[in-house]
Amino acid sequence: MSELALDRVVTPVLTLEPSLEGERLRVDFSGTGDMSAIEALNGYLKRVHAEAQRLNLAEVICDLKKLSFMNSSCFKAFVTWIDAVKTDSRHYRIVLLANPELHWQRRSLEALRRLATGVVSVESG
């Protein structure tokens, strides 16, 4: 398998740490998805999608357990990405790992799951 062409991204509020685990790409999110993170997150999720297609991956895991909050604009970056995966002929699964102590995640991630039930799953714990 090719090497992952996706770097770690660090902004003042948000850090995105990618790693390749066999046929799965894992991205660890930490910090806050606020107004200043929108551009970085939008661009990053586009690159994640491109990498998942290039490497023909089966799954992308987003570990959001250390993401303290996500505003509606960052939420929309996920919506755009999920919609792109859903409408692409080469699907891969998206797994969102949630922190049950961050209560906003239960409703927000469930809304993302409803957007594409065959693509997105949410695991909490």
Partner: protein
């Protein structure tokens, strides 16, 4: 008993998180339900962010009001700011759709779907407050002035 706190300042992105945290922490004095506090923080965050994004001139205002009544309290969060005509019309259109929706969750899902290919802005903040925050959303427009008000009832500490 009632309690109210007002914040008025020129729009600044740095205020958003501080105000949202303040709302959650102040309400923690009276409410023990962490999920409810999270919903309030989310609502305050989205409202404040709209003030920062859409205030066309002058200060933006945020108000928190708690009215205690029997075993619970009613909490109202409201914002007030001047906005450009384009944003006032956008708010009006969104609120018309939101107010006429029978089910906030179905409405939220359809707004999410519609936002997927919108190039700029999410347009999801108020629908998110309604669906995820489980708060009633209302608004008024008077000339250039926009007032957005969200409210819900919460159980106070010591109540089942």
């Amino acid at each position: 008993m009632s309690l109210s706190v007002s914040f008025r300042a020129p729009p600044h992105v740095g205020h958003v998180e501080h105000v949202a945290r303040f709302v959650s922490e102040l309400c923690r004095t009276y409410i023990s339900d962490e999920d409810a506090l999270s919903r309030l923080q989310l609502a305050a965050y989205e409202l404040m962010e709209n003030v920062v994004k859409y205030t066309s001139k002058g200060d933006g205002e945020f108000q928190l009001q708690l009215d205690f009544d029997g075993p619970g309290c009613r909490i109202v969060l409201s914002t007030q700011n001047m906005a450009e005509d384009e944003h006032r019309q956008d708010l009006e259109a969104r609120m018309t759709r939101l107010s006429s929706a029978d089910d906030p969750l179905s409405h939220y899902d359809s707004e999410i779907q519609a936002s997927a290919r919108r190039p700029f802005g999410s347009g999801l903040g108020l629908a998110r407050i309604r669906a995820e925050g489980e708060m009633v959303v209302d608004y008024s427009i008077d000339g250039e002035k926009v007032v957005v008000r969200v409210e819900a009832a919460f159980l106070t500490k010591g109540q089942p």
